[in-house]
Structure formats: structure tokens, C-alpha cells
């Protein structure tokens, strides 16, 4: 088996193993729920992405941007805890000794775990994208479907961020001090730190999720139609924001 074939089979079977687990089903369920909850109807009385009380029309561009931002933010949390013990699992399932007696190199074994985790995260991301596509049709504010608007943020924002996450899942599993509950707590603190930095500190070097590229453009576009946003220092941020009356929209 040459290197590419070997990686293919290692990744394929790791993906199968993961996709048949309960944790994967739970994360997929959460992803679909997020798709539903984060694209509220005009009368729902709340917003998830707040730009001074206005939001974009639910078209492909807006929802593509939203799914890229939300998935990187939330997948970093759920995805990490789902995938953080792939190497420990080999020991837990008592397959470790068999693997140790094979000629596979440490680099290939570890990199195959990183790439497999990356693949699992991509699958979840794609499920989220399809959930948001479905929400575009359900909410019916725009029936113009633009696949590039969904997949460009996925390619340029989400993918690099998920590759970093996949690497971290393995890193936290091979460094002894980062295994177990201590690693879980450290990662949670890191997630809070990076989330706060990404949302509160635009253009920051520490914006690991790459949210600012999309968010700043959304805010700029909103400011063109609603002048009060241009003078506001709030920018755009994620959270649960109750809205009274009908929400104002703009085209992004």
C-alpha cells in the first residue's frame, strides 16, 4: 500500500468508526438544531448575530457567512470534546498493542489521526451548511441559491480553522499533561479566550476563528443602509438578543 492509499484507508475507517458513534450523532443533532435556532423567523423576537438591531436578509451570502462563523466558533467546543481521545481510544479498546507491533511510523499514525479528525469536522461542517441551506428555503426571504456563497466562507474561513482544531485534538491526546480532565479544562479556557478575542477585538492577530473577515464586511454593509450603525461602536456580536417588533433587514 503506497502512502496515499495507506492514508486513504486509515482515514476512511477512522471516519466510519467515528460516524457510527453516539457522540457523532449528538454533535450532528446539535448542528442541525443550531441551524434551526440561529436562523429565527422575522417574528421570533430574537436575533443571534446582533448588528445594532438589524440583520441581513436570509440569502445564500448571509447564511453562508453565518454558518462559517457559527460553526468555527461552536465546532471548536463540541468537535474538540468529541474527537480529543482518538489515540487514547486505541489504548482503551486494547488495539494499541496490535498497532505498536505494526511497521507504521509514529508520524504516519499521528498525522492520520489528525487528518481523520479533520475529515470528521468537515463532515459536520457540511451537515451544518446543508442545515442552513434548508433554513434559507424554510424562511423564504430569498430563494436565490448561490452555492459559492456557502462554500467560499467554508473554504477560506472554516477549513483552516478546523485543521488547527484537528491538530489540537491530537496534541491534547499525546502530551501527557494535557490528557484527561486537566486538558479539558485548559482547552475550555482557551476556547473562551479565543472566542472573546474573536468577538471583542476585531482585526486581532488572535482571531483564530477568522470571524472578523466576515463580520466587519457585514457591519460595513449594514452601516451603508442604517447610518446609526456607522456611529455605533458595538460592531456585530453573537449571543441571544431579544428584539421588539419586526426586525429591520438589509441585503448583504
Amino acid at each position: 500500500m503506497n502512502t496515499i492509499q495507506s492514508y486513504f484507508y486509515l482515514m476512511k475507517n477512522n471516519l466510519i468508526k467515528q460516524m457510527r458513534s453516539y457522540s457523532f450523532l449528538i454533535v450532528v443533532g446539535i448542528s442541525i438544531f443550531i441551524g434551526y435556532a440561529c436562523v429565527p423567523s422575522a417574528a421570533a423576537g430574537y436575533e443571534v448575530f446582533y448588528i445594532g438591531g438589524v440583520r441581513g436578509i436570509y440569502n445564500s451570502a448571509w447564511l453562508g457567512g453565518m454558518v462559517a462563523m457559527l460553526s468555527t466558533l461552536l465546532l471548536w467546543l463540541f468537535g474538540f470534546y468529541m474527537l480529543r481521545s482518538q489515540i487514547s481510544d486505541d489504548q482503551r479498546f486494547k488495539v494499541g498493542q496490535i498497532i505498536a507491533a505494526t511497521p507504521i511510523s509514529n508520524i504516519r499514525y499521528i498525522s492520520s489521526k489528525v487528518l481523520s479528525n479533520f475529515l470528521v469536522l468537515i463532515v459536520i461542517e457540511l451537515i451544518m451548511i446543508f442545515a442552513f441551506m434548508a433554513m434559507q428555503l424554510i424562511r423564504g426571504e430569498s430563494y436565490e441559491f448561490n452555492l459559492l456563497s456557502y462554500f467560499a466562507p467554508f473554504l477560506f474561513i472554516a477549513l483552516p480553522s478546523l485543521l488547527v482544531l484537528a491538530s489540537l485534538t491530537v496534541l491534547f491526546d499525546v502530551i501527557p499533561g494535557l490528557k484527561g480532565i486537566i486538558g479539558n479544562i485548559i482547552f475550555f479556557c482557551l476556547w473562551i479566550f479565543f472566542s472573546v478575542i474573536s468577538i471583542a477585538s476585531p482585526n486581532s492577530f488572535w482571531d483564530l476563528y477568522g470571524l472578523d473577515a466576515i463580520r466587519s464586511d457585514m457591519v460595513e454593509e449594514a452601516a451603508k443602509k442604517y447610518s446609526f450603525i456607522a456611529t455605533s461602536k458595538e460592531g456585530g456580536s453573537f449571543g441571544y438578543y431579544p428584539i421588539e417588533g419586526k426586525v429591520s433587514t438589509f441585503n448583504w
Binding site: 484507508y9 486509515l10 475507517n13 466510519i16 457510527r20 507491533a101
Partner: protein, 291 residues
């Protein structure tokens, strides 16, 4: 093809798990016998390149595997005593995954997987998840993964645990067939498992190699040391405390105890032809393991 174990010792903490063991193996089955804690699994883990000896060296075809383990790993099939499988995979997927770990070519891996599933009677369950398999079926999957690369050295540690009598016989026959052109090391504490298939037997006890010989020699060496003693049931406990008893059958005239001892245990004891089990008990008990 030669596996040369030279004065190998293994310390684990303050305990010496293996002491100064030397063996030279050629194609065929080596039965590795010994009670629990004798050092069988430690020796096997070292031969499987998972652990390194504290002292001594192991050569595979003249190459020191403690320095270059990958050379042996490419030709090695290993079934550990306590192994597991991924419950969310089916046998095909698991074996495909292990074939990728072993670096087999796709074409030969697929062919080999299909052959092994047939031979090990798993073909009808190839699409079932391993999580639902019985202990014996998992054991057969473990055996299949060990044979994936058609290994020149096959190490199987307590492979018949969990197998029913029919499966044990089938497995013994499989090992016997495989041993013609490769070295097979079969570890067990069940003497009958190796009696019929191993031309060489090594007995380990408390980390020491007690003997390394053929089954015939091993049996011959205790020829005048096996006794049939008919005793009252009330005397059995006393007899067990004094001697090694390989079996005790309750009959109307008393207990027929099969005693392994250098001396006649009781005046009217009669000599019996020895078996491999008697020889095994004699050697491990003479070091105070069973007495």
C-alpha cells in the same frame, strides 16, 4: 529464517519479570508453557518489539530487533493476550484498517481479508459490527489480523481463551498448517493446546526458562515420577499439601489421585505412564509454583 534470543532479561520496577532467557528458534511451532505470571507475555511483548529487554539481545535473521524493530514488524503477526477491536467497525473494515497499518497493498490486502474471513468462519458475519461479536468471534478476528501479512513470525499469546472446543481444534489445526514455513510461538497454560502441534516446548516459571525440549523428551523425563494413589477422600487434602496432584477422580473404592513426585508417595502407589501435563506440573512445581 531464525529467531535468536540471547540472554534476555526484563526488569519491571524492583521485580525481575524475565531472567537470562536464551532460545534459538527455527520454522515450526514453539509451545511456550508456564503458569500465570511466569513471564510468557513479557517475553512475547519483547519479541513483538513492543517492549525492549533490560539486558540481552534478540536477533531476527541476524538483525538486532531492539535496534531496528521495523525489519521484524513487516514480517510479524501478533495476537496479544488481552486485545480488543473497534466495536463500531465490521470485520472487513477492521482488517482493512489493520492492513493499512501494516502497509499491505490494496489488492493483496483485499484478497487476503476474504481468504481469512472464509478460513476463520467469519464470512457470513463480515458486515456485522464487532461490538455485537461473542468472545470467540472477536478472538477469530484477532487471529485474522495477525495473519493479514502472511507473517514469517507469528506470535499468539493465549489464543484459545474464549474459544469453544470446536473452535480450539480448528485453531490448532490452522496453526499446525501455518507452521510449515514460519516460526509460530504459541503461549498458553493449557497443555492440551500445544501437545499435538508443538515439536518444541519451552517451560517458563517465575521468569526463568526451566526447560526447552521436545514434548517426547519432556514426557520421558518424568517417566518414573507419576503415581496412581487410591486414598480415602479424607486424606486428599493432606496429599495435596505434600505432593503435586494432576488429577483426582472420585470412585467407589476411594479417590484415584494422579500424583507427580520423585518418590513413591504411599506404599501401595502404582506407577503410571506420564503425560505432558504431568511433566509440565513436575517442572513448574519443582520451583515451588504449585506446591
Amino acid at each position: 529464517m531464525e529467531l535468536d534470543i540471547q540472554r534476555v532479561s526484563k526488569n519491571s520496577g524492583s521485580k525481575q519479570a524475565l531472567q537470562d532467557v536464551s532460545l534459538r528458534l527455527k520454522p515450526g511451532v514453539l509451545g511456550l508453557l508456564g503458569p500465570n505470571g511466569a513471564g510468557k507475555s513479557t517475553l512475547m511483548r519483547m519479541l513483538a518489539t513492543i517492549e525492549k529487554p533490560s539486558e540481552g539481545t534478540i536477533f531476527w535473521n541476524g538483525v538486532d530487533i531492539t535496534k531496528d524493530p521495523n525489519l521484524l514488524r513487516r514480517e510479524l503477526g501478533y495476537l496479544p493476550q488481552d486485545f480488543g477491536v473497534y466495536p463500531n467497525m465490521n470485520p472487513m473494515e477492521f482488517l482493512e484498517y489493520m492492513a493499512a497499518m501494516k502497509g499491505l497493498s490494496v489488492k493483496s490486502a483485499k484478497k487476503r481479508i476474504n481468504e481469512l474471513l472464509e478460513v476463520l468462519n467469519l464470512a457470513n458475519d463480515r458486515k456485522r459490527l464487532l461490538g455485537g461479536f461473542s468472545g470467540g468471534m472477536k478472538q477469530r478476528v484477532g487471529i485474522a489480523q495477525a495473519l493479514l501479512n502472511d507473517p514469517s513470525l507469528l506470535i499468539v499469546d493465549e489464543p484459545t481463551v474464549g474459544l469453544d472446543p470446536q473452535e480450539r481444534i480448528r485453531f490448532r489445526n490452522l496453526l499446525s498448517t501455518l507452521s510449515s514455513d514460519r516460526i509460530v510461538i504459541l503461549s498458553t497454560h493449557i497443555v492440551t493446546d500445544i501437545e499435538s502441534i508443538a515439536p518444541n516446548i519451552a517451560v517458563l516459571s517465575k521468569g526463568n526458562l526451566i526447560t526447552y525440549t521436545s514434548p517426547e523428551h519432556l514426557i520421558q523425563s518424568v517417566n518414573d515420577k507419576v503415581w496412581n494413589c487410591i486414598i480415602p477422600t479424607t486424606k486428599l487434602q493432606e496429599m495435596q499439601e505434600k505432593y503435586t496432584i494432576s488429577s483426582a477422580i472420585h470412585r467407589s473404592d476411594g479417590v484415584h489421585a494422579r500424583v507427580v513426585s520423585d518418590v513413591r508417595p504411599i506404599p501401595h502407589a502404582t506407577s503410571l505412564p506420564s503425560s505432558l501435563e504431568d511433566a509440565y506440573l513436575y517442572y513448574v512445581s519443582s520451583l515451588g509454583v504449585t506446591q
